[in-house]
Symmetry: C2
Subunit: 384 residues, 2 copies
Amino acid sequence: MRDVAVMGVGMTKWGELWEKSLRNIFVETALQALDDAGIDKIDSMHVGSMSSGLFVGQEHIASLLTDYLGVNPIPCSRVETACASGGLALRTGFMEVACGMSDVVLVGGIEKMTDVSGSEATYALGSAADQEYEGYHGITFPGLYALIAKAHMEKYNTTREQLAQVAVKNHSNGSLNPLAQFPFKVTVDKVLNSVMIADPLRILDCSPITDGAAAAILCPVDMVKQKGKPVIKVTGSGHATDSIALAHRDDITWLEATYQAGKKAYGMADKKPQDIDVLEVHDCFTIAEICVLEALGIVEKGKGGEAVEKGLSSLDGKIPVNTSGGLKAKGHPVGATGIAQVIEIVKQLRGEGEKRQVKDARVGMTQNMGGSGGSTLVHIFEKE
Amino acid sequence: MRDVAVMGVGMTKWGELWEKSLRNIFVETALQALDDAGIDKIDSMHVGSMSSGLFVGQEHIASLLTDYLGVNPIPCSRVETACASGGLALRTGFMEVACGMSDVVLVGGIEKMTDVSGSEATYALGSAADQEYEGYHGITFPGLYALIAKAHMEKYNTTREQLAQVAVKNHSNGSLNPLAQFPFKVTVDKVLNSVMIADPLRILDCSPITDGAAAAILCPVDMVKQKGKPVIKVTGSGHATDSIALAHRDDITWLEATYQAGKKAYGMADKKPQDIDVLEVHDCFTIAEICVLEALGIVEKGKGGEAVEKGLSSLDGKIPVNTSGGLKAKGHPVGATGIAQVIEIVKQLRGEGEKRQVKDARVGMTQNMGGSGGSTLVHIFEKE
């Protein structure tokens, strides 16, 4: 297997992009990644999208996007594992470059979520849960994560305020990210007094509905060196699954797929949790970030809430988490999220983090999760 | 890159499987592939599905299917490129084994299409076309392929009877395949007098709506040899795209993505069209098979209709095409079709083709196409 690096990244402002269609948003973003890499030719593409079918009635985006980017006849695959589809695109592209099938591969993610009504979007997102055993009985994702939150609070004495601290931290980081959908700060009080969605989760515990795309260019390390670009290597890739329905897990506070994917990625990169300088995780709900820190071994089981409260994961903490603003503040166009995480890590490792730069960041990690944790992708990146 | 072989295959009877859900159909099929390979452990899965979201309201089948097959926490990706999703699963799994990320990979395809109404199914299938420029103006897939047929008849004097001959041949083959949805013979007269769908295509020119799955086990060639199983190598893989909308092509009778994917696969396997002993192609409509034979270089441009009429592609012809019955008679659960093609080729190369066995078949090829040809996967297989 060849060593693989990220040569370029692209991301445009996320939000409710009613004046742009799925194809426009993707092309704009992909061109930016090509510009950043300083290239005008790619060999292949892999694009993550959770449900372009349910959100805009369009499948076969592999053909659509190569067509509108003007790169036919190159191969393109659309990959999906719910909200971890972006991470899956990265892994698939990584394998293609590593095995030598292609040299320059664009990995991207896209979701156009605001063309449908709120209830249609909720239905589409619900298709990431077990529809026969969960969705059709009435539960939606805020409800599933509320169950996790309740169980975590009961088992580990995690407090409502600790959940709020996740939102406060991520919005604080997001206020420094000009591409974020909601680049403003919030306070614990504001979170605690926001509208109730599914007890104990309030609206400011939830990531939003977003239109957006993200793209990155992968190629062999040698090519990046030839171009004289900063070498950001992909050194670890882990992918794992868990039962899709929450009810089928022994302990709903424990994200087994995240643990397993993390273990694989750490092993492949020969790294430990304490080696990670900067980390982007899947904070679809505030409780998710807490559980993820535990499953990745960043903190002990049950200590996720306390860690956030004590500032471990703050921008100036020991391991800054979600410096981009996370899904919470940056937005969560589900298929694009995993690639946007890569972009933040690449910028941090390049030293292009601007006001949110983590000092001396050399090793970064991304954790991208589907459904209530039924699938997870973890990747480790290193600056050479 | 390591040499990759197909160690086992599984497919159950296709049809309107109202008593089974998507997860049941997949598990049954996957277990059969594991049995055929003589193994009980896999490292990873890639499953093609065109639109589990629109057909059964379920995305995230990567988590669902590993869960119900009982193989968590192994990685699984769902891949999609419309009706070529199965072929894409094969290619993705091939890369994973070739690059050494995994040893034993299950590649599968599934579609559960009959749980929705006919109009909902038509809408779901239409999402493989350019919804903004084609679908929302009212055209559906029979209409798009009818345009191709009209153009081919006009340009090359292809006859209505030649189109019918494709259906007659494939139903004749399908009558020998116990797993086919419609295992009966039809006559030219019957095709010509069947219900008109989109002039000139009649119902017996169209592949059906089907529930079904297919699965194959890929692994390094050395492992197959160790097990003493027949060695069926994957020696060529080509994947290409074309404009998604028919109107954006210079010549709608020419399938450029099929030509490009074929060129790649032939080059990789160091084979020519005349080296192919048995071929499964994407006959979603009778005209499609004719155009595909031309794009793959099996016959000259414009000679596809004549070739079928003269028996070139018959079971006892020079290059038997769609010995399984093709999409036409075997059925077309869209995401599964590309893997079912692999299964037929593997059976032919193993000499397990039963009443449809092609004598001395050593080199086989599959061509799996998305939409009106906006994406295509071509693979070449060789018996060692």
